[in-house]
Symmetry: C2
Subunit: 335 residues, 2 copies
């Protein structure tokens, strides 16, 4: 790896995405990206007896399928970088438990998939692994239960609230000639603008996304127009507006022509009544693995900056009156 | 990095531990390692209004001190790898929030410090960072509250139970000529022998520790006698006996002459009434950063294999009747 500016690294060996898989729930399968997912589960239980086991089952599905699509066996994978939103990250642990793949657990809230892609690229570029798996997941029901209210309570959601995506995305990274390349990576700094509203994650994460995107553009001497797409993780509609505003006013960058957000892409906000869009570690993981990377593989997009956003509070820190810190990790894909 | 055998990597540039710091609570400061800790806080509140903030304060103390002891400023640190046991890893996030250091969050339960050392070495060896911080923390009170009973309840603990260490350990890793070298790293596989007793973590983790240690010895063609110490994270007294038994009977290795365990070292089990010993991410982090690495720096130990052990359940998975998976990550130090 070579450092580029203060925060960005380049991967000279060009780690390659050799396969991806995205496995989602019923609501995601009724949204605009339905045709791109590998598996749309008929119900969100995914054949399991608890919501947490259902999320672990999604992790298992996506990992197994990504490995199979790469023409590999689990024993061929040298390391997995994975994480999720559940307390003690049990979806990843339980989902990958039987694979026997060495597991480096990550936590970055909804930025986890971007962090996993960076660490998998670091592993492959540096020689830690020949083949690395990057994965992240979330589940609407396990997240509602843990972060908000029991589902049975039927709580009303505010207009700024996002819907946690039921889904897992997995990618296999290796040194190969053909496929989408991961050329740059950037681990973000924690950013806290003092937002305290747990029902407005987009607002909490937008300043962090702006900072990482601005740092990335500055460190690499790029302009927004150099990219086919600057893709944020899950800011949703509220956070996306704020991101564009902060980037323009604080950093002097206008990304509006190339900006897209996984939280806006995955649902039809009006038809599906999801308020401000999708969220959760599984949101960007499943969108990037189903829609973005295959599109790049087909050369319909050539240069994409993916900035995965995460809000780093817990229900307890919120109850204790703490503000919501956020982090944004970025990877650049080229095809 | 070069792969060695199936699971081990070597770090040809020999990433070096250039400084360490360990900051602990009152009980730890009354134990056998009292004189080695950098800061023994007079009370476990660490000047904070909640136990969670107290743990974050320990993270901040240890990071600040390790960086200062290295003669550096926070802006000189390119990346931090850190994690803890709290839901959504908030001790690390909130503790490092103001440092402006790019933060890659890790989760490996009590194995987190070993994982952080591996990832910091990977980062430095591969060129992701010139200087990397590895850190982990835990707090008796925040852990009891989250994993067991409210402190005020005064619950009785079983003889196999361990006491979560109140402490944080941090190390700065860089390419330098002088200091303890990290020569090898190994990310472990999830191992589950079907233990379900949340009050016997040692038993849940011992088979995982045995597997990682055996894999490490096999991959590197080493024998236990090649090491001055094989140090496990926090198996405590019950888990340590089981480790020795499993290693002997299942893998044919006798490590009894060189084995030590951070959970046994940090407390005087009888005098301090801590039952089976210490545990928590902060246990191995504070023991390694206060006692082991400085001892190696003084050449009183030359070759140490540190196997950090983690139990990967959550209170919820335990209530749902799931078994306790475990993972053990290993690093080898030479001086």
């Amino acid at each position: 790896m070579n450092r580029r500016g203060k925060y960005v690294v380049t991967f000279p060996s060009l780690p390659t995405v050799i396969s991806t898989a995205a496995c989602v729930g019923k609501t995601e399968g009724e949204g605009p990206l339905a045709e791109y997912f590998d598996i749309v589960n008929e119900n969100d239980g995914v054949g399991s007896s608890t919501w947490e086991r259902a999320e672990a089952a999604l992790v298992k599905q996506a990992a197994g399928l990504a490995i199979q699509k790469a023409g590999l066996k689990t024993k061929d994978i040298d390391i997995a970088f994975a994480g999720d939103l559940l307390n003690q990250c049990t979806a990843s642990t339980f989902g990958l438990r039987e694979t026997e793949i060495p597991l480096a657990g990550l936590f970055g809230a909804c930025s986890t998939f971007a962090l996993a892609l960076i660490m998998a690229s670091v592993a492959v570029d540096g020689g830690l692994a020949d083949k690395a798996l990057a994965e992240a997941s979330s589940h609407f029901c396990s997240a509602e239960k843990q972060f908000r209210y029991p589902l049975e309570y039927g709580g009303q959601r505010t207009p700024t609230a996002q819907r946690t995506v039921t889904g897992a995305g997995a990618a296999v990274i290796a040194k190969e000639r053909d496929g989408v390349k991961i050329t740059h990576g950037m681990v973000g700094r924690v950013t806290d603008y003092g937002v305290t509203d747990m029902a407005n994650m987009g607002a909490a994460m937008a300043p962090s996304a702006a900072r990482t995107i601005a740092d990335f553009l500055n460190d690499t001497g790029s302009r927004p127009a150099d990219f086919d797409m600057i893709l944020t993780g899950d800011l949703g509609s509220v956070g996306s507006s704020l991101l564009n505003e902060v980037l323009r006013e604080e950093y002097g960058f206008d990304i509006s022509r190339v900006h897209a957000d996984c939280g806006n892409l995955i649902f039809d906000a009006e038809a599906q009544d999801v308020h401000a869009g999708g969220s959760g570690c599984g949101c960007s993981a499943s969108v990037v693995c189903s829609y973005i990377l295959p599109k790049m593989q087909r050369k319909e997009l050539r240069k994409v900056l993916f900035a995965g956003t995460g809000a780093l509070m817990s229900p307890l820190t919120a109850l204790q009156g703490d503000t919501i810190p956020a982090v944004t990790h970025a990877v650049m894909f080229c095809s």
